[in-house]
Structure formats: C-alpha cells, structure tokens
C-alpha cells in the first residue's frame, strides 16, 4: 500500500476517533434545561417502532417548548440507542443512575427486564410506556406500566369480537417473539370467556418465508375464526394463502395490536379489507390535539396513520411535565433522590391525566380504565366496530 493510501486511511480513522471524542451531553437535569433521557431502539430489527416512539416524544417536547417549556424551562429528549440488546440497555442505564431525574424507556421487554432492575435498585424511575403490568410489576414502585395485565385487557376484546361475529371454533397463528406469546395466551382466555373452542395453535417461525403449509395446517382444523399474533409483514401473506384456499369470512380474521404497523397495510393493500384489528388508539377520534398529532404524523410518514404505540411517549413526556409542575420539582441536583421519589409517587397515582386520546388514572403504577378498540380494515383505514372500557 502506498503512502497516500495509508495517509487517507489514517485520516479516516482519526476523524472517526475525533468524532467519538466529542463529549456526550450530560444527562443531568438542571434548571436551565430539562433533559429527559430516552432508552430507545433506534437500530436493529424493530428500529422502525423505536423511530415513531421517538417521533412522539420529540413532538411533545416541541409543543411543550413552544408553549413555554416545563416550569418555564425548555425540555430536551436525549435519545439513547440500546440496539435492543440487554447489555446495551444496562450499560446505558448505568450512565444515568447518578444524574437523571427520570428515564423514559427502555424498550422493549427483554431490555426492560435487564435494565430496569438496576434502575429500581438505585432509585431511578423508569417510564416504561410500552409495556404491560406483568413485565414491570416486580420493580414497582420504580417503573410505570402503560397497560394493565395483558390477560385482563385483551381477553374482553377477544370475547367481544367472537360474540360480535358469532364464531365458535378459533385457531391462532402465533410467532414466538417478544411479548407475542404472552398476548396469544391472553387471547386464549378471551376465547374461553366467549365459550368458543380453541383449536390447535399454528406456530409461525421467525424466519418463515412461505405460508401455504401454515394455512393448510389451520384450515384442516375447520375453524370459523382466526387470530393472528405474528409479524405484521407475514399476516397479509398468510391471509392471501387462506383466501386462495377458499376463506371468505374476512370479519372472522382478527389481527392483534402489534400487527397494526405500516407494513401490514403496505403489504396487505386491499387484500386485507374486511379483516378486524384491535389496538389502543382510535385514529377516527377528533380533538384539536389528536388532529394536529395525526396530521403531523402523516406529514412525517408519507401519509401513514399513526400506529398504535405512537402516542405513548408523547403522553409520557406530558405526564413528566405534569409531575414536575404538580409536585414542585426544581431539578436541583442536590435534591435529586427526593425529587425522584416525588416524581415517582406523582405518576404512579396520577388521577385524570389528559392523554392525547383519552383521560386515565393510575393506581399502583398502572392504568385500569384505558379503552381498547376493535376496527374493521378498509383500504388502509380503520373503521371502529367496538370499544371496550375496563370497569
């Protein structure tokens, strides 16, 4: 290798090293600016979800700053990528233990289960605003859950759907990924509650590329209703295989909430018209905040509807604002431990919090009155069929 090439290579490497040497902005909260660290997934297999979670948090910060900030000071979301690796989650969390007032995330559950115990032991409150009660209950009061226990919330929507369509023999496509197996279990409870028969589960492997045999496996059990708890990209392909083998009752197909992602609609197109889907956000709702959020999301994401989880960290930032202002938190580093507890207790028992879609109250760190919706899909749009509000 000649000298010039060597020189160029050395320059490239020096550039990388010098860029790496930039000091990382401190996660310390201060009175000049509220910094909220967000342990998110910005790279890896589900980075697209992390992308819109981040978008929601950033949007809330923009709105808050435009309206005068939190207690008169601007807020900044400090995005931190864990790459969906538990080790990365723990490493990043450990950097925040001595300085952060609160941490948003981590996401998703495998990282939560690795990193939140550390935060809980050190008295740092984690805003795990995508997860259900059972995944963070062990760390209460140092972690908030955004949803009640999975079975408690999903079983009613499944039984409601089955009663609505009048089906009695249900088969379920399940992919063993993250929380999906747990959600499938909750679906089973809903099937039992509706008095229907649950047929043999069809396992969808993570690396599956052909779905004909899976469709045959399901149809030979002669079901009259099918639930999908698998990757949103695979669901339209499975539906296609079912239709090519004579399935016509589209409303008897139910897609779970994690399937409510842009790829479901881009891959499915009109082929999934008539299928049902449940989730936690009603895009048809009309309120000034939601309309603005929806329009901004569509503008940012090429006309796509906001996915089910997109408002979670938007609401989380507003809840933190509410806690800081409501509990009189100053951001004074010398009062860090005490103010972490103030914020924690405020959020764990927050009452009548005005989220972007609905108002809810927390009891022991989790909400009991968040609604769940059942929609019919028509050309990428969702038409509301049922709304279940837990009692």
């Amino acid at each position: 290798m000649n000298k010039n090439k060597k020189l160029i290579l050395i320059c490239v490497m020096l550039l990388v090293v010098s860029l790496s040497g930039w000091s990382r902005p401190s996660a310390e909260t201060g009175v000049e600016e509220w910094q909220i660290p967000f342990l998110n997934i910005l790279t890896g297999p589900i980075a697209s979800i992390g992308g819109y979670l981040q978008w929601g948090a950033e949007r809330a910060a923009e709105e808050i700053n435009a309206a005068g900030g939190i207690a008169g000071k601007p807020v900044r979301i400090v995005s931190i990528d864990t790459g969906m690796e538990p080790a990365g989650g723990i490493t990043e969390m450990s950097k925040l233990l001595d300085s952060a007032l609160v941490v948003m995330g981590p996401v998703p559950e495998p990282v939560i289960l690795a990193a939140v115990p550390l935060a809980a032991e050190e008295g740092l409150y984690s805003f795990t605003a995508t997860t259900s009660y059972e995944y963070v209950a062990d760390f209460y009061p140092w972690a908030i859950s955004w949803f009640p226990p999975t079975t408690e919330r999903l079983a009613p929507i499944i039984s409601g759907w089955l009663n609505h369509i009048g089906a009695s023999r249900v088969v379920q496509f399940v992919e063993n990924y993250g929380v999906w197996a747990g959600m499938a279990k909750a679906h089973e409870q809903g099937v039992a509650d509706a008095g229907a028969t649950l047929l043999r589960q069809v396992d969808v492997s993570t690396d599956a590329v052909t779905f004909g045999p899976l469709a045959v496996n399901a149809l030979q059990q002669n079901p009259d209703a099918i639930i999908f708890a698998c990757n949103p990209q695979k669901i339209p392909s499975i539906i296609n295989e079912l239709k090519s083998r004579g399935w016509t009752r589209m409303s008897n197909l139910l897609i779970f909430s994690s399937g409510d992602a842009p790829e479901l609609y881009s891959v499915g197109g009109s082929n999934i018209n008539g299928a049902m889907i449940y989730n936690y956000v009603d895009p048809g709702l009309s309120s000034p905040r939601w309309d603005a959020f929806r329009a901004a999301y569509k503008a940012a994401y090429n006309g796509s509807e906001p996915p089910s989880l997109s408002p979670n960290y938007y609401d989380a930032v507003y809840m933190i604002k509410s806690a800081i202002e409501g509990a009189g938190i100053t951001g004074d580093p010398s009062r860090l431990a005490a103010e972490r507890i103030l914020l924690r207790d405020y959020c764990n028992e927050i009452q009548n919090f005005e989220g972007i879609q609905f108002t809810w109250s927390n009891n022991h760190g989790y909400p009991k009155n968040k609604p769940l919706y059942l929609f019919e899909i028509q050309n990428g749009a969702k038409i509301k069929v049922l709304e279940i509000i837990p009692e």
Partner: protein
C-alpha cells in the same frame, strides 16, 4: 465506584476473556464460535441454579428449582459443563478445518438460541432476570467493586495460563499447525489432540465469561446470541492482533469504550465505526496492531538496550 465505571470495567474484563476464548483455537487456525453458545448455556445454568426468575405471562408455567447456589458454585458448574460440552464436540471436530469449525459453532449458537427461546422454564424470548447479587449483604457499590475485582482476577489468572501455554511446546506446536498443518503432522504433532485441548479450553473460558456476564447483568436472554456479538469479538481479536494474547488487552478496552463516550448523534453509527476500524486495520496491518515482531522490537527496546552499555561496541546478543 460509579455504576458506569464498574460496568465498563467488568464488561471489558469479560470481553477480554471472550476474545481469548476465540484466540485460543485460532492459534491453530480454528475459529470456534461455540464459546458464545457455551457462554449462554453457562449463564442460563447459573440463572437456574442461583434462583433467578422468569417474567410476565410465563411465571405460572415456569419451573422454580428453588435453588440458591452461591456464585462460586454456579461458576464451577458453568465452567465444567461448558468445558465438557466443548470436549465432547471436539472429539468430532478437533482436527476439522477452519470452515467446518465455524459452521459447527454457528449451528450450536442457533441451536442454543432456539432451545432457550422455546423453553418456558428459561423465560423463552425474555430470558431470566433477578439474578442475586454476587455477595448478598453488601451494598450495590460494594458489590460492583467486588465484581470488578473478581473479573480482573480471572483475567490475570487466564492471562497467565495463556502466557505459559504460548511459551510452551504446546504453544509452538499450535503455531506450527496454524502455519502448515501437513508440516505439523510430519513433525509428529497430533492435530486432533491439539484441537481438542484448545476447543475444550475455549469452551470452558466461554463458560467462565458466561457466569461473570450473568452476575454483571443479573439477567440473561437469548438475544445475546447474535452475529453482532460474533462480529464484535472478531473485531476485538483481529484489530488487537490474533498472533499474541496481548492484542485483546489493547483492543477490548478501546473498542468497547469508545462507543460508550460517543455523542448521542453518533450512537447509531457505532457498528459502522467498528467496520471502519476493522477494514482499516486489515488493510494497514493484517495481523492486527500487536504482532510478534512488534513484541520482539519492544522487548529489544526495553531490555536489551539496558544490557548493552552505550558505545561498548560489544555485541551481547
């Protein structure tokens, strides 16, 4: 000691052990990734036997062994089981060519991953968490300090063992296999036994790293088994230098440390950073930063010049 510093130090020590686990079989030209599977197997064993729990919807179906083995017992268990697995596999692939060993390593990695992801007792895709502290009764910061000491104790111990190995007849025999297998055979070296020894040692080292990793993270999940981690350890070995044991000691602290201090805007580019470093090193110094000639030059610089009186003109060598 702050959590950030102790985490950096413990993970650095563990990754040095991991990189040495790849270095050992590569002394005779075998890339043995089974150490990653062994790492995860020993971590799961440690989790099961130390009283860790599974989470979420799987709790009701999980098998609670109700065992609370202390750290040292889980460590011994992890090392012994991993070493045994490595030995059994080496009976079949002890003298296999590099490519076959790579394939076996990947096969074991994904077999382990599939078993863990589908076993409720192991927490399926979430894994196990709430691993007890290494010493109950100590505060968090004392525990962290203790763990750092334990990890570096093992780095010293294993490092000394590898140093002795490299300087021994066995080490030279491994080098000759690396350079020319046929020549090594003609010199009377038993390639299969040599492979068996190094693969077993590599697996046991993986087991050791796995238990230390478990007690550092206090959680284990199948998500540790990724190409990313294979790439990370390979980068650490090949950037540091694969011909001596000292390469990982230089590369691991730097390569693991630099992404941690990267500004947030560059975090998502850290894999690109690893790739640039690796490509750069492979182009500039294919044997890595620390090579045997470099060590010889350093040795001459530090020791022989002291022995040679200035201007004496007498050649002491």
């Amino acid at each position: 000691m702050s959590a950030t510093l102790s985490n950096y130090l413990t993970i650095t020590a563990i990754f040095i052990l991991c990189t040495w686990a790849i270095y050992l079989p590569y002394r005779m030209g075998q890339l043995h990734f089974m150490m990653i599977a062994n790492m995860v197997i020993s971590a799961y064993l440690g989790a099961l036997f130390s009283g860790a729990v599974v989470s979420g919807s799987q709790v009701q179906e999980a098998i609670n062994l109700n065992l609370h083995w202390p750290f040292i017992l889980t460590l011994i268990l992890g090392v012994v089981v991993s070493g045994l697995l490595g030995y059994l596999i080496s009976l079949a692939i002890g003298d296999a060519p590099c490519f076959a060993v790579v394939i076996v390593g990947f096969a074991f990695m994904y077999l382990t991953k599939a078993i863990a992801e589908n076993t409720t007792a192991l927490g399926r895709t979430f894994g196990m968490f709430r691993v007890p502290r290494i010493v109950e009764g100590l505060s968090n910061s004392q525990n962290r300090l203790f763990l750092v000491c334990v990890c570096f104790f093992f780095v010293l111990l294993v490092g000394f063992w590898i140093y002795r190995f490299d300087k021994s007849k066995l080490g030279r025999a491994a080098s000759s296999v690396f350079v020319d297998r046929d020549l090594a055979v003609s010199l009377g070296i038993n390639v299969k036994k040599m492979g068996s020894l190094l693969q077993t040692a590599s697996s046991a080292l993986g087991g050791l790293a796995g238990v230390l990793y478990l007690y550092t993270l206090r959680a284990i999940s199948p998500s540790f088994i990724t190409f990313h981690n294979v790439g990370l350890f390979m980068t650490m070995l090949f950037v540091g230098g694969y011909t001596t044991q000292w390469g990982p000691l230089l590369a691991v602290p730097i390569l693991w440390g630099i992404p941690l201090i990267m500004p947030e805007s560059l975090q998502v580019w850290k894999n690109v950073f690893y790739a640039v470093i690796l490509i750069g090193i492979l182009m500039l110094k294919p044997e890595g930063v620390i090579t045997r000639p470099l060590l010889r030059r350093l040795n001459n610089l530090v020791f022989k010049r002291r022995l040679k009186p200035a201007g004496s003109g007498k050649n002491l060598s």
